[in-house]
C-alpha cells in the first residue's frame, strides 16, 4: 500500500533526547515531558508536591501547565499555546474497565478558552509506562514534523516528516507500520494525528490510535471537541508516535493491588450478567440510545427544532448492528474494558471523495455521530452517516460541531437566509447527505462553503449577517453554540436542568459535565432550583474526576448493579462511586472517601473557571444559552408541541392561551423561560461558591484549598 521505508528515509532528525524512563510508583512517575518544537528542545520536568496534591493528574496537570505557559491574552495560534496530554494516576490499570484515557488540554480556536477533551486509544497509558505523567508540546515547527517517543529505549526525537499522509487513517497506518518491528509489535504503538481538514477548519480534532490485532488495522479514537486538531496542525505536527512494549496489569505499581482487583471482578461480573438487558454497550455501544432519545422527544432534528422524526427507525441502533457492524465480539479501547463499547464496520465501501472505492474500517457510529450527522441534519441514511463519520475522523473534524454547524446552515438555507450562490451551488436542504459529504471534502481542501462551515456557528453567524444581511437576533436564537462551541446532540428545550448542564460549564455546551434530562424532565426528581443546583454541582464535579484520573465515564453509568435502584441515590450509582474510591486508594495508597473525591474535582474545576476569567471571559454573560436550547423560537416549533406549551402557559404562568396568536404565546413563554434560566443560574452559582457574576469567591477558594495567590489576583478584580 505504501512504502514506509522510503517515507522514513526522508525524515530529517531535528532533535534527540535520551532519558532513563522513570518507574511508576503508586500511579505516578512524578516526571513530565516538555517538547518545544519551535526550538527543538526536549526536557523532563519534575512534578512538585503541591502540583500533585492540588491538581491530581490528567486534566488538572494540563490546566496547571497551560496556565503557566500562557499569558491572559495568548491566542490559540500563538507559539506559547501548548497542547498538554496527560493520563492520570489510574490511567493504565487493566483490572477495571475504562482506565486507558488521555486528557488533552489547549487554548481553543473555537472558544478562545481552555478546552479539554477525554480520549481513548493507547497513548495515555503508554506515555505513563514510558515514564511521564504528562506531555507538553509548545512552539511551532517550520516544516511538518513528527515527535517519536520510544518508552523502552528511553529515546525521544523530533523529525521532519515530509512524505507522510495527513489524513488520520492513513498516517496512523503508516507510522504504526514504520515503528513496529513486526505485526505483533504493532499493538505497542499509538499514534496521535489530525487530518487534512484540521489544516483549515477550527473544528479540527485529534485521532488517538490503537492497533486492533484481530482486524489487522489501526483504530482511531477522537479528542473531538474544541479544535485541538487545528492547534496541532497549526504547529505543523503531523503526528506524535509512542512505542512501549511490555504492558502488564501492575505497571502502575499500586499500593494495594487487591483493592483494584476486587472492584474489577465485581464490575466485570455485573457487565457480563446484565449488559445484554441493560445498555447493550457490548453489542452496539453508545448508539443504543438513538431510538430512546427519539421516543422521549430529545433527539435533535432539523437543527434542534424538533425532538423526534418518523424516519428515525432507519438509523436505529439495530440497523447499524445488523447491517454494518461486522464483528461478533465486544471491542474495547484499552485492555481490560469489558464494557467494550468500541464498534467498527469493516470493509465499508466509500462512495465519494478521495477515498472513493476504498474499503475502510469505520469506528462507530457513536450516538453523537448518528444524531448530529444524521437526525439533526434530517439525514436518515445509515450509509451516508457512516461515510460522513469516516471522513470526519480521517479529515480530523469534530463530528459533533460539524453536525450542529451543518444543521444550522441547512436551516438558514431552508429559510432563505442563504441561497445556492452562498453555498457555491450546494442544495443544502435538510436530508441532503451528499451535500453534507461535499462540505467535508471542501473543508479538507480549505475551499468553498465547506471552509466556512469549518469556522463554526459563531463565525458563520457573523458571516451571514455581514454578507447576506441576515437578522443577527434570529441567528443568535437558532445558532446552537455557546462560548463559541457547538451544542452536543441532545435537545435540552424541555429540561431546565440540562440547559444549565450545557450552559453553566467551563468549556462550552458539551454534555460531559452533566446529563440531567431524565432526572429532571421525566423523573421529576429535582423540581426546585435548589435541587437542580445541587445536581449541577455534584454531577459536574463527579464527572470532572474522570478527567483527573484518565478514566472513561461510561463504566460509571452505562451499566448498573442490579440492586442500584434500592440505594438512596440511584442516579449517582453509589456502588460504582465506592469502586472509584477503592481504585484510587488502591493505586495511590491514600485513604480518600467519596467527599474527598468531589473536593479533588472542585479544586480543578474552580481553577479552570478562574483560568477563563483570567482570559477575560468565564463570567455570567458567557453562560447564557441560545434561546433554541430553551424553548420554541419559531411558529412551527411552538405548534409542533402546541398542546404541551399551551398547557404549560396555563399551569405555570396562569396565562390563558385561548384566542392568542402563536407569536404572542411564544413571547410570553420566552420571557418565562429566560427568567427561569436566570434563577437557575443564581442558584447554581450560589451552590458552587461563586458570586452572582460567576466568580469563585476567595472564601470558597480557601475552603477548598485553592487559596493560590495567582487565583486571588484574578478574582480580586471582580470582587
Amino acid at each position: 500500500m505504501f512504502d514506509v521505508k522510503s517515507i522514513k528515509a526522508e525524515h530529517k532528525l531535528l532533535a534527540e533526547y535520551t532519558y532513563e524512563p522513570a518507574k511508576l510508583n503508586r500511579g505516578y512517575t512524578d516526571k513530565t515531558l516538555y517538547v518545544n518544537i519551535g526550538e527543538n528542545q526536549i526536557k523532563e520536568k519534575n512534578v512538585s508536591k503541591e502540583m500533585k496534591e492540588k491538581f491530581i493528574g490528567g486534566k488538572g496537570y494540563g490546566l496547571r501547565y497551560l496556565w503557566d505557559a500562557t499569558k491572559p491574552d495568548t491566542k490559540w495560534n500563538d507559539p506559547e499555546n501548548e497542547i498538554v496530554i496527560a493520563g492520570g494516576p489510574l490511567c493504565g490499570i487493566t483490572q477495571y474497565p475504562g482506565a486507558g484515557k488521555s486528557l488533552v488540554v489547549t487554548i481553543s480556536p473555537m472558544t478562545d478558552l481552555v478546552i479539554d477533551s477525554n480520549v481513548g486509544g493507547y497513548f495515555g497509558p503508554f506515555l505513563k509506562f514510558s515514564g511521564f505523567d504528562a506531555m507538553e508540546i509548545q512552539g511551532k515547527a517550520e516544516k511538518d514534523i513528527i515527535i517519536y517517543i520510544n518508552g523502552n529505549d528511553g529515546k525521544i526525537t523530533i523529525e521532519e516528516a515530509p512524505l507522510e499522509a495527513i489524513d488520520g487513517h492513513v498516517i496512523s497506518e503508516q507510522l504504526t507500520e514504520m515503528y513496529a518491528d513486526n505485526e505483533e509489535d504493532k499493538k505497542n504503538i499509538s499514534v496521535i494525528s489530525a487530518g487534512t481538514a484540521a489544516n483549515h477548519a477550527n473544528i479540527g480534532l485529534l485521532n488517538f490510535s490503537f492497533y486492533d490485532l484481530r482486524r489487522g488495522v489501526t483504530r482511531l479514537k477522537q479528542a473531538g471537541r474544541g479544535g485541538i486538531g487545528r492547534v496541532f496542525r497549526d504547529k505543523k505536527i503531523k503526528a506524535v508516535v509512542i512505542k512501549f512494549k511490555g504492558t502488564k496489569g501492575n505497571l502502575n505499581n499500586p499500593a494495594d493491588q487487591s483493592l483494584i482487583n476486587k472492584a474489577g471482578i465485581k464490575l466485570h461480573k455485573q457487565i457480563h450478567d446484565y449488559d445484554d438487558v441493560q445498555c447493550r454497550m457490548r453489542q452496539i455501544g453508545t448508539a443504543n440510545i438513538i431510538e430512546v432519545m427519539d421516543q422521549y422527544d430529545l433527539l435533535p432534528v432539523h437543527n434542534y427544532q424538533y425532538g423526534n422524526h418518523p424516519d428515525t427507525y432507519k438509523i436505529a441502533s439495530n440497523v447499524f448492528v445488523e447491517k454494518f457492524i461486522t464483528q461478533g465480539m465486544p471491542d474495547g479501547c484499552w485492555f481490560g474494558c469489558s464494557l467494550s463499547c468500541a464498534k467498527a464496520a469493516d470493509k465499508f465501501e466509500i462512495q465519494t471523495g478521495p477515498y472513493k472505492g476504498h474499503l475502510v474500517t469505520v469506528d462507530g457510529p457513536e450516538y453523537e455521530n448518528a444524531a448530529g450527522l444524521g437526525a439533526n441534519c434530517g439525514i436518515f441514511d445509515p450509509r451516508l452517516i457512516l461515510e460522513a463519520n469516516f471522513y470526519c475522523d480521517t479529515y480530523g473534524v469534530d463530528t459533533i460541531s460539524f453536525g450542529t454547524i451543518c444543521a444550522f446552515a441547512m436551516e438558514c438555507y431552508e429559510r432563505g437566509i442563504i441561497d445556492k450562490e452562498a453555498t457555491g451551488g450546494l442544495d443544502l436542504r435538510f436530508g441532503n447527505g451528499l451535500a453534507q459529504l461535499e462540505l467535508l471534502h471542501q473543508m479538507s481542501r480549505g475551499e468553498g462553503f465547506g471552509a466556512k462551515i469549518g469556522l463554526g456557528v459563531k463565525k458563520l453567524k457573523e458571516i451571514f449577517v455581514k454578507e447576506h444581511g441576515a437578522d443577527a437576533d434570529f441567528l443568535n436564537e437558532i445558532g446552537m453554540e455557546q462560548k463559541g462551541l457547538e451544542v452536543s446532540e441532545y435537545l435540552p428545550k424541555e429540561s431546565l436542568a440540562q440547559q444549565g448542564g450545557y450552559g453553566l460549564t467551563n468549556k462550552g455546551p458539551q454534555h460531559d459535565e452533566a446529563w440531567l434530562i431524565f432526572m429532571d424532565m421525566v423523573n421529576n426528581q429535582i423540581p426546585t432550583f435548589e435541587d437542580k443546583a445541587e445536581a449541577l454541582h455534584y454531577f459536574p464535579m463527579f464527572r470532572t474526576w474522570f478527567g483527573l484520573m484518565g478514566l472513561c465515564k461510561l463504566p460509571w453509568n452505562d451499566t448498573s448493579p442490579p440492586d442500584n435502584h434500592l440505594t438512596d441515590e440511584p442516579a449517582k450509582m453509589p456502588e460504582h462511586v465506592q469502586h472509584y474510591v477503592n481504585l484510587y486508594n488502591g493505586v495511590t495508597g491514600s485513604s480518600i472517601d467519596k467527599n474527598e473525591l468531589i473536593l479533588q474535582s472542585e479544586r480543578v474545576y474552580n481553577f479552570q473557571r478562574v483560568f477563563n476569567i483570567r482570559r477575560g471571559k468565564g463570567l455570567r454573560k458567557q453562560d447564557a444559552m441560545p434561546y433554541r436550547a430553551m424553548g420554541p423560537v419559531t411558529i412551527e416549533e411552538y405548534e409542533s408541541r402546541q398542546e404541551r406549551y399551551d398547557q404549560q402557559l396555563v399551569e405555570l404562568l396562569g396565562y390563558n392561551p385561548e384566542g392568542k396568536t402563536t407569536k404572542e404565546k411564544i413571547k410570553v413563554m420566552k420571557e418565562y423561560r429566560l427568567d427561569q434560566y436566570e434563577k437557575l443560574t443564581d442558584a447554581v452559582y450560589k451552590r458552587r461558591g461563586w458570586t452572582p457574576n460567576g466568580v469563585p469567591t476567595k472564601e470558597h477558594l480557601k475552603s477548598i484549598g485553592m487559596d493560590l495567590p495567582e487565583l486571588f489576583e484574578v478574582v480580586d478584580k471582580h470582587m
Binding site: 438487558v277 441493560q278 445498555c279 440510545i289 431510538e291 430512546v292 421516543q295 422521549y296 450516538y367 452536543s488 441532545y490 454534555h511 446529563w515 440531567l516 434530562i517 431524565f518 432526572m519 421525566v522 423523573n523 421529576n524 426528581q525 423540581p527 454531577f539 465515564k553 461510561l554 460509571w556 453509568n557 452505562d558 448498573s560 442500584n564 435502584h565 434500592l566 440511584p570 442516579a571 449517582k572 450509582m573
Partner: protein, 65 residues
C-alpha cells in the same frame, strides 16, 4: 387521577403498569416502577393494577449521555 412522578395523570379503570408505560411512551428499559413506594417487578407490569389515587413513580436510570 393518579400521580406519575409527582405530576397528575388521568386514571382509567383497569389501568396496569404496562398500559401506563405505553400511554406515557416510557420505552426506556432501565426503569424502576414504584406504586405508593412499593417496587413492582418487571414481570408483573402486565398484571399489576394501578388504583385511582395511587402515587406512581417511574424512575428512569440514566444520568449520563
Amino acid at each position: 387521577m393518579i400521580k406519575v412522578n409527582t405530576k397528575d395523570f388521568e386514571w382509567e379503570e383497569g389501568l396496569t403498569v404496562q398500559r401506563l408505560l405505553d400511554k406515557k411512551k416510557y420505552t426506556f428499559t432501565k426503569i424502576i416502577v414504584k406504586i405508593n413506594g412499593n417496587i413492582i417487578n418487571k414481570e408483573d407490569y402486565d398484571s399489576t393494577i394501578i388504583n385511582d389515587g395511587d402515587d406512581v413513580k417511574v424512575i428512569h436510570l440514566l444520568a449520563g449521555g
